[in-house]
């Protein structure tokens, strides 16, 4: 089910085109990564999704047009901006109450539940300004959950927090994903590869690639690799190549005693089983998963 649909979104700042006919969708329960270098249009796209900017084209959230019913659409969304700005002079509990009431929630039990879940209940009377950037981000992420939104929009969530904060955030995202919510994450550094299901790659306002990580990398001829080292005299390379061809591999190369096989990740287990079925006992098998981080520059260049 598609939670968010963007159709031919175009945004200009004067003569500068920030977004040029961007179309994509986000499905229920998936993490969609918006990747691209600085100035690619990631933040502009997120602000358009929230109905904060005027734009050409259409964006709907659960079928609600963000241009004509922005407030209603925003009730289905949770947003964590790049800058972790909250009301520093307010206490944590007062901040939660304020944002809750802006979201239409005025339930003290719910406020307590969220603060306990985040581990902030004991220090609820401390000023928000006393929190670190990572803690503020954690609080902001928690605030998005006050209303059980269908989709979360996170703008550059890793850019201003330390390693510990990043690990904590990834853990939180995993937990949220289990609740079948959609998550849309923008990032100029990748780092989120482990949680991303599909990816939208932007460069200079244009969509460079959109789809599953494997699909997008596959279009760039970047595929999963399986490295197999054979015992000397165990089998002839030719025999093995014949076995591999039966399993829809993309290519096989031989290098310094290793066979380098390009294949889909779903076929890896079947491929290995097939090798053993043919009586071949490799000395070593190494599987290399596709990595957004490793192929980032190839991605953004398209």
């Amino acid at each position: 089910m598609e939670v968010l649909v963007a159709d031919n979104v175009k945004k200009n700042y004067g003569r500068h085109t920030a977004l040029d006919e961007v179309s994509f969708n986000a499905k229920q329960g998936e993490v969609l990564g918006i990747l691209g270098p600085n100035g690619a249009g990631k933040t502009t796209l997120i602000k358009c999704c929230l109905g904060l900017l005027d734009f050409d084209g259409q964006i709907t959230v659960d079928g609600i047009d963000v241009k004509t019913a922005g407030a209603v659409a925003r009730a289905r969304m949770g947003y964590v901006p790049q800058r972790t700005t909250l009301h520093d002079k307010l206490s944590i509990i007062d901040e939660v109450k304020l944002i809750g009431r802006l979201k239409g929630v005025n339930d003290n039990h719910r406020f307590r539940e969220i603060l306990e879940r985040l581990g902030f209940w004991e220090r609820r009377k401390s000023p928000v300004g006393s929190l670190s950037q990572g803690m503020k981000q954690k609080l902001m992420l928690g605030l998005t959950l006050l209303t059980e939104p269908d989709i979360l929009l996170l703008d550059e969530p890793l850019s201003s927090i330390d390693i510990e904060g990043q690990i904590s955030l990834l853990h939180q995202l995993d937990e949220i994903k289990k609740e079948d919510k959609s998550i849309l994450i923008s990032s100029h550094i990748v780092g989120m590869g482990s949680v991303i299901d599909r990816v939208l790659v932007l460069n200079r306002g244009e969509v460079v690639a959109f789809g599953g990580v494997e699909e997008v990398l596959g279009k760039l001829h970047i595929r999963n690799k399986l490295y197999i080292k054979l015992h000397q005299g165990d089998a002839h390379d030719d025999d093995l190549v014949n076995v591999l061809r039966e399993n829809n591999v993309y290519s096989v190369q031989s290098m310094e005693g290793w066979l380098i096989i390009e294949c889909d990740s779903k076929d890896k287990a079947k491929l290995i089983a097939s090798i053993f079925e043919h009586g071949i006992r490799p000395e070593d098998i190494v599987s290399e998963a596709l990595s957004l981080e490793r192929h980032y520059y190839e991605l953004i260049k398209g």
């Binding site: 904060l52 925003r74 909250l86 009301h87 944002i99 802006l102 979201k103």
Partner: protein, 276 residues
Amino acid sequence: MGYSAAWALTVHNFLEGLRARWVIVYTVVFFMLAINVPMLVLISARYLPPDYLEAYLAGLMALSFPFLPLLSLPLGATSIVDEKENGLLEYTLSQPISRLSYLIGKLAGLFLSTTLVVLGGYLIAAFLSYGAKIGQMTTILPMLGAATLLNTIMLLLGLLLSIVSDRKITAMMMGIFLWFLFTVLSDIGSLSILVSIAGAAPIVLVIAALNPVEAARLLGVYGIKNVGFTELGSIGLILRQLVGEGAPIFILSVQLIWVGVLLLLCINLFVRSEIF
């Protein structure tokens, strides 16, 4: 949802307004201005006539009204642009509220906090220091009404500056310039010259209309019975000559037009313009 969000923002901005350092400092200074220590000495020594309150109020308005904009103008001028600069505006508007609800919440909260300071200052001074009775409220009410109107106009003017500015310092400087324009430049410069030039008197109508501070003072003074020509001042006298008994209505209409036009401008610019 729109109502509760606007109400939540009203309460938040009201409390934030009262907590603002500038408002606390201003409240102390304004209260000292309102109680007017030399007058207290004269009252306690019984040197003042029984009807001193009316004469005193006219003097108090001339003294305190030029300083009234110093509360709401900077507070309004920095309110939205400050949130624009630090990212809070973007975050707040990303919640399920409309821009109109945000603006209403902001305006209502600031209006309540500044009005509380202004009216509180005058009323506490009237009841505690001067021993004013409830029966004398009719004498004080025109001043309170004029002060509230002036405060509202200055707050809206400040908000307008805040909406059109990209930087807090720019909005603040424009606010201070407007205060200087209303209280100093228009008073001692063009007005005195215009009044002295034969045939130029009708222009005073325009000048009075364009200066909410002077207009508010006149509105308050017109509300006092047995007001002398010194309290009216040269502009007040010319206005009375030109408009006759309709002078207070003219001034009140002008003030309400200020409120209406500024409110429409604020809403139109904030709701329609590209903020981010």
